[in-house]
Symmetry: C2
């Protein structure tokens, strides 16, 4: 099927991930296809619900491409949810109005966890269909990123049944019954590896693991219960497709303190949130990985002058990037309240400032 895909016209993003020379710093935004766009809200209304949107390849394709029609972004990311895998395992993902994701059948005891099985064949076909359809409609404009939640992040939602401000159920289980938690993470890691490889087969040109809640773990627990399972996934990912490298990205929000270890997890690039000093991060990781990030998304609530200045500050902190290695992004998903004009200012600033060239150090 992929033989029919058009050749890639803009590979800046992929080159930066692989630390190859680029003409400028590529930029995309986590959650770039989302509620801050009026055209997204219109499609969402037609679809009837978030899941109605995410599970329908036509709609998913439409909203994936929307931000690219507005802004000269350097990558597209599959429109989907990080929790598709546990949903396919039968936990019953749903979204109450104005609330985050919830599971109808959270895993609260040993029986439920021991019964957990991989997603049945075909249960995630809608995702792979969307990937292939998006690749066709992208027509080679920019690369398409596939993704999943990390085993630990999936476990957080699977045990808590939704978001949490303290994760006391899932972390309590981790400390009380580490054996059970390891079983759950083992099932998740296998399922996520298969899921990402199927996205690669369907046409994903890069893949990203969102370890959204890794930063909620204690030092020590993070390495054992999140990082080690992500390592297994990166080791099991297809590294090429039709002879082309498929770069991978890992992002542990709040994981800046563990960067040295994360850089060895097996991903090609590490996402960073805005608490991390990019210059120090670059010095620490050396030539091990590329870095992705890390503008504070709230900068987009200021004014064009400040947006440009803060963008310049992030680029300057990373330093000279003619040899690749930096993908510009926010340090977290873009807020639904972001003014669309701010995004235009940001994307233009990244491109124009990085193309001009910046001093190697600030």
């Amino acid at each position: 099927m992929s033989a029919a895909f058009s050749p890639l016209k803009n590979d800046t993003f992929l080159r930066a991930l692989l630390r190859q020379p680029t003409d400028y710093t590529p930029v995309w935004l986590m959650r770039q296809a989302g509620r801050y766009l009026p055209e997204y809200r219109a499609t969402r209304q037609r679809a009837g619900s978030f899941l109605g949107l995410a599970k329908n390849p036509d709609y998913a394709t439409e909203v994936t491409l929307q931000p690219l029609d507005r802004y000269p972004l350097d990558a597209a990311i599959l429109f989907s949810d990080i929790l598709t895998v546990p949903d396919a395992m039968g936990l019953g993902l749903h979204f109450a109005d104005g609330e985050g994701p919830k599971f109808l059948h959270p895993l609260r005891d040993e029986t439920a966890i021991r019964k957990l099985a991989p997603p049945p064949p075909g249960s995630l076909q809608y995702v792979f269909d969307a990937v292939t359809q998006i690749r066709h409609e992208l027509n080679g404009r920019v690369p398409l990123i596939g993704f999943s939640g990390s085993p630990w992040t999936l476990a957080c939602y699977m045990v808590e049944g939704g978001g949490s401000d303290d994760f006391r159920l899932v972390k309590g289980m981790l400390y009380d019954r580490p054996d059970l938690m390891h079983h759950l993470l083992d099932v998740n890691a296998t399922a996520v590896t298969d899921y990402l490889n199927a996205q690669i087969d369907a046409g994903a040109q890069a893949v990203m693991l969102f370890d959204t809640w890794g930063g909620a773990l204690a030092d020590g627990a993070y390495q054992t219960f999140s990082l080690d399972y992500m390592r297994r996934i990166f080791a099991g990912l297809k590294k090429t497709k039709d002879g082309v490298r498929i770069p991978s990205i890992v992002f542990t929000k709040g994981g800046g303190l563990w960067l040295d270890q994360i850089a060895d997890v097996g991903a090609d690039a590490v996402g960073l949130d805005w608490t991390v000093n990019l210059r120090k991060a670059r010095a620490l990781v050396g030539d091990r990985v590329a870095l992705q990030g890390n503008l504070d998304p709230t900068v987009l609530f200021s004014n064009p002058g400040s947006i440009k200045a803060e963008t310049a500050s992030v680029l300057k902190s990373f330093g000279e990037s003619a040899n690749g290695g930096h993908v510009f992004n926010l340090g977290h998903g873009i807020s639904q309240f972001t003014p669309t004009e701010s995004v235009a200012v940001l994307v233009d600033a990244v491109h124009s400032l990085s193309r001009r060239g910046l001093p190697a150090s600030a």
Copy 2:
């Protein structure tokens, strides 16, 4: 008035903060007087509301002492709220049932911020009265800690009007109008300095700044908009009372990446959350400051064996502490859902394991 205070019988906590020799590692828990204690819930019910409790010195004294009657903790902390100062500035602190703190009059525009004035004389007398009364009733058992929210953390609530999961109003203002944000932080820093000094005059034997939301800031913004204002406060604090040193503690939740800079802010000790590796932290700060922390509070949802093992792990990570320098604590306030028996296991484990002596390195 303080001439009438009884001599201190257990100064282990104060000695550890000042990195002087101690017989064991002292322990107290953030939010130790709180909802996980049935006796607290009973007093709270009699008081009618959280603020009815916090603003009445008799009730505040009663609940401050409750955890000390249950557990052999090495410090008491004034029962109060981090938001008393902006409340006294007229913002109208209130607590809706089951929700966090809210302000009736949040600061949303330049006019409101320019009008902000220090708390009127007498408006915080109830706090100072509580401090003195607690000192008398403590009768020298353990030292009493006074505290305040940091200027930035106060600003978060003052602008947002309550908690937030993205702080887009206050951070948007920071990036859009840094001049306004600096004005607000300047007013807060002066008010907090005066407030903590008045607590010291009233009898507080150590003081702590809670920078609960410092970790929400970007690298760079943290230093300018939170750390620099805390530096001003520590420089302005009374260092002794009646010839006795008054140690100070700073705690930026999520601030582990900035530890090297925080260690130079002027506090005697730095609080750490559970994401920080204590051994690395100790090596980094050297003899500049003591460290306080950093057990993950969710460990208390496991079982006695795990609680002891995780406590041992924290002690071992810090290493030999016969020369002081480590105050055991959780990495965040104790959860209201914590079983009271878990706290007994924890406090006993800290004392017995640290008294036995531990290897200098793990």
